[in-house]
């Protein structure tokens, strides 16, 4: 029983990183009605680029690395917008799907090329003793990851719902033509969305690096799959859905990892996704009258 509780707690804490990746997918989908397959890879690339700090400043504290990761990931997000979305006609969703898949391969290969395919160690967010709560052990680093991700999400929600920029973003998401008639510049808002989600992805990538301890280009494909699953289970385009689904998937996979081992774990996550598709295709937080 205590094992079960322990693995659920660990899973939920790690699930926040899935949630953040899911938010990135969902937000870009919400604004552009397109999916950015390269998002998770770009997040990992952002985390990698944070390590560049060590070239200039050998003893940089972890927080500087994380901040650099976030900032550079924002830049990568902008680059992806320019290369994969800006110049491709809005009416051909297949073309942007393919271009972002190409981008996913490209980003992965750039990482492999620059690091010679070796995993790099990433600074931990905390390296003290874990907290013991009765029989439960809480890993403090995961807890801090959880907090950082929560703060990042809160900032994002604030930006979206309390600022003029957020109003513009949501207007573009709801009705691009009407938004344009109100004097909102589509390309600018889209670009800003990509920078915002890129930054968020950079934070998620840094947190994943911090909690796993190493960064490897092998992380990006599984993370893409998990992030997309989270997006579907939460309801495509729904931010609260992505958060809840991220935590749910994190807990679910950790429980099955305990029961059935690491090789079978992901199979059950896929089954969970299929259960959702059959019984609740709109996801947990279906948006009323959502368009395809």
């Amino acid at each position: 029983m205590i094992d079960l509780a322990q693995s659920i707690v660990d899973g939920v804490l790690f699930g926040t990183t899935y949630a953040v990746i899911g938010i990135g997918f969902t937000l870009i989908f919400g604004v552009m009605h397109k999916i950015n397959m390269s998002f998770a890879a770009a997040s990992i690339a952002g985390a990698y680029s944070g390590l560049l700090v060590f070239l200039l400043w050998k003893t940089a504290p972890p927080i500087v690395v994380f901040a650099t990761s976030a900032a550079l990931a924002g830049l990568i997000g902008y680059a992806i917008y320019l290369l994969c979305f800006r110049f491709i006609p809005i009416a051909s969703p297949l073309a942007t799907l393919m271009s972002t898949v190409g981008m996913l391969l490209l980003v992965d290969e750039i990482i492999v090329h620059l690091t010679a395919g070796m995993p790099l160690s990433y600074p931990a967010i905390y390296d003290g003793y874990p907290i013991e709560l009765g029989q439960l052990i809480l890993r403090v680093d995961l807890l801090l990851v959880f907090l950082v991700c929560l703060v990042a999400m809160a900032v994002l929600l604030y930006l979206l719902y309390r600022t003029r920029l957020g109003i513009a973003t949501r207007a573009v998401a709801q009705q691009p033509v009407a938004a344009q008639l109100c004097g909102i510049r589509l390309t600018q808002v889209n670009a800003i969305t990509f920078v915002m989600t890129g930054t968020l992805g950079g934070i998620a990538g840094a947190m994943i690096g911090a909690s796993v301890g190493v960064l490897s280009p092998l992380l990006s494909l599984p993370l893409t799959v998990k992030g997309l699953i989270v997006t579907v289970i939460g309801g495509l385009g729904s931010i609260p859905g992505a958060i809840v689904a991220g935590l749910l998937v994190g807990a679910f996979e950790n429980v099955f990892q305990m029961w059935r081992g690491v090789t079978e774990r992901d199979m059950y996550v896929m089954l969970l996704l299929f259960a959702f598709l059959v019984f609740r295709p709109g996801g947990l937080f279906r948006i009323a009258g959502a368009r395809d």
């Binding site: 989908f29 397109k34 999916i35 290369l83 994969c84 110049f87 491709i88 006609p89 051909s92 969703p93 297949l94 073309a95 942007t96 799907l97 393919m98 271009s99 898949v101 190409g102 981008m103 996913l104 391969l105 490209l106 980003v107 992965d108 290969e109 750039i110 492999v112 090329h113 494909l221 893409t224 799959v225 997309l228 699953i229 997006t231 579907v232 495509l236 090789t263 079978e264 992901d266 199979m267 996550v269 896929m270 089954l271 996704l273 299929f274 598709l277 059959v278 295709p281 395809d292």
Partner: protein, 297 residues
């Protein structure tokens, strides 16, 4: 010379895979499950010839039907969702199949060696072609005969009423529904037909490589499968073939001298191609131009 036959075999198998995705894409759905269907076909065909000692042709047929059945079963729940949700659902299904074969053990003793799929180590010793004395050239001929048959069937279908129905669903579901087309029936049949072709390609693949494992059928292969028809353009089956030759022949084999840089260039070229030709290499306009040229000649 055997090298070129081998290359032709790879191109043939990938063409089949691309055509299976083409079939599904005609109805406007993006399926990332084609690698999963190919995996089903590969394992079923290999188990039939190796473990049950069956002849290759019935084994391939059964493999195709098995993959088609599974595609049909996946089609029903997955088709309740549309567009991008389907991309994700099929991606997850493909991964689930791969993970299934990663955990799948079924070995029997045959002579002195134990044969059959063995989890992460994969399925070794699929020696139908060497045991029956097929040369590389004959295998290549067989593969391309199958490719030609599938292409002819698809080309003919495209010019028939069925093709019009499929394309109608792909262009505008609402309009198609309002002229009395049963969307679910059309989409599930397209999915099943695509599954059959993918199963065939998997079955052949298993026999010419003689060793398959779960890692062969990952997301990358699924991406390749839809990349061919999208890159080639959906106006004609020949677009897919052109894209396969372009990717497998030119990008992967032709650029081998570039070493590591080749992989970098690969992603970049896809991005570039999509920016320059969003409707595929062989888009409707260039196809119309070709038709005019051929018509005049």
């Amino acid at each position: 010379m055997d090298f070129y036959y081998g290359l032709a075999q790879i191109i043939g198998v990938h063409t089949l895979l691309g055509l299976s995705a083409y079939m599904v894409l005609l109805t406007g759905q993006v399926s990332l499950a084609q690698a999963g269907f190919a995996a089903v076909g590969a394992y079923v065909a290999a188990m039939l010839t190796v473990l049950a000692g069956m002849h290759l042709f019935p084994a391939l047929l059964i493999a195709g039907i098995a993959a088609a059945t599974i595609a049909c079963a996946v089609g029903f729940p997955a088709l309740r969702v549309r567009g991008l949700m389907l991309v994700i659902a099929t991606l997850a299904f493909g991964e689930a199949v791969r993970l299934f074969f990663f955990n799948f053990d079924y070995q029997i003793a045959k002579g002195e060696v134990r044969v059959g799929p063995l989890g992460g180590e994969g399925f070794r010793q699929i020696r139908y072609f060497p045991e029956n004395g097929w040369t590389t050239f004959e295998v290549m001929l067989l593969i391309w005969a199958i490719v030609a048959m599938v292409m002819a069937a698809l080309w003919w279908m495209d010019r028939s009423r069925t093709g019009a129905v499929l394309r109608a669903v792909g262009e505008d579901e609402l309009a198609a529904q309002s002229v009395g087309i049963n969307l679910t029936a059309v989409k599930v049949s397209a999915m099943a037909a695509g599954g059959f072709i993918a199963g065939l390609s998997g079955g052949i693949y298993a026999h010419y490589t003689t060793h398959i494992e779960h890692a062969n059928f990952g997301v990358v292969l699924a991406t390749f499968a839809i990349a061919y028809p999208i890159l080639g353009g959906l106006s004609s089956v020949f677009g897919t073939v052109i894209a396969v030759v372009f990717i497998q022949g030119v990008l992967i084999e032709g650029l081998r001298f570039m070493g590591d840089w080749r992989n970098l260039l690969f992603g970049a070229l896809i991005v570039l191609a999509m920016n320059l030709r969003p409707h595929g290499l062989l888009d409707p306009r260039s196809l119309a131009m070709l038709r005019r040229l051929v018509g005049r000649a």
